[in-house]
Amino acid sequence: MDANRLSQGQMVAASAAIALFIVSFLPWFGVGGAAVTVGGTTIGGAVNRNMWEFENPLDVYLLIVMLVALVPAATTLFGGAAEFPLAPIATTLLAGVGTLLIIYQLFDHGSGASIKIGVILGLIATVGITIGGYLSMQEDAGGERY
């Protein structure tokens, strides 16, 4: 395993993808309201949900984004011969759209739900993947602009 085999863009995208995976287990949304205690039993109350628990296709989408950023980097890192010519554009495009989807979720997350720290950190990590993908595109094109 030799980290020098990775380009700067691949390194940034892969690091951000790992960060996004870790952040996905933090609370993203809070659901519910005040708890009521009746006879020593507490009913209701706010419940925090991480990215995987919130009923939304965003979890599947961001999993795809993480894989698209990580698989080419991991293959290069472990000396694989496989080539992924579409990987830089796929990483940039899918992570860019993922950024838009998370921003959309910030404004439209359903009534009764609140934003938690995970979604903000997830947004930052997804922007990081987009930047890493864009750097890879530029490195692949040798400075040629897309």
Binding site: N56, P57, Y146
Partner: protein, 148 residues
């Protein structure tokens, strides 16, 4: 107008139009209570089901809209006689279409709400996403063949 478009771009554009139409068709439905024949329905109880399209409470709607717009981009540029060309549009159409297929399949299987029914819009949307991915892939191949 279509003379400027490759076959793949036309296929993707048709898929995009169908996808946009499908998002306004019912994707999810809930059946009302059923009563055996001959038993009168109590007052105040409706036996009619409800159905909803995709534009309610899901990020899938925004994603599919973005996919459709990207797939339509070459056709829109041809329509406006624009000289603008984006080298990555075919690849983007293929990638977004392929991911749309995965997301719609995930929505219809693991992410689907319990007790609800899949409606016609979901199947048409899935078919349209497949067509967009195929059109994008064909457009990519045509671009490569054109460069050789």
């Amino acid at each position: 107008m279509t003379g400027r478009l490759s076959q793949g771009q036309v296929i993707a554009a048709v898929g995009a139009v169908v996808l946009l139409v499908a998002t306004f068709l019912p994707w999810i439905g809930v059946s009302g209570p059923s009563f055996p024949a001959g038993i009168p329905v109590p007052q105040g109880i409706s036996t009619g089901g409800t159905s909803e399209n995709l534009w309610k409470g899901s990020t899938l709607d925004i994603y599919l809209a973005i996919t459709a717009v990207v797939a339509l981009l070459p056709a829109l540029l041809a329509l406006t006689d624009s000289a603008e060309e984006f080298s990555f549009v075919s690849a983007a159409t293929f990638l977004l279409g392929a991911v749309a297929v995965i997301l719609v399949i995930a929505y219809l299987t693991v992410d689907f709400p319990g007790g609800a029914e899949r409606k016609i819009g979901a199947y048409i949307g899935l078919g349209a996403a497949i067509v967009i991915a195929m059109g994008g892939f064909r457009a990519m191949q045509e671009e490569v063949a054109g460069e050789i």
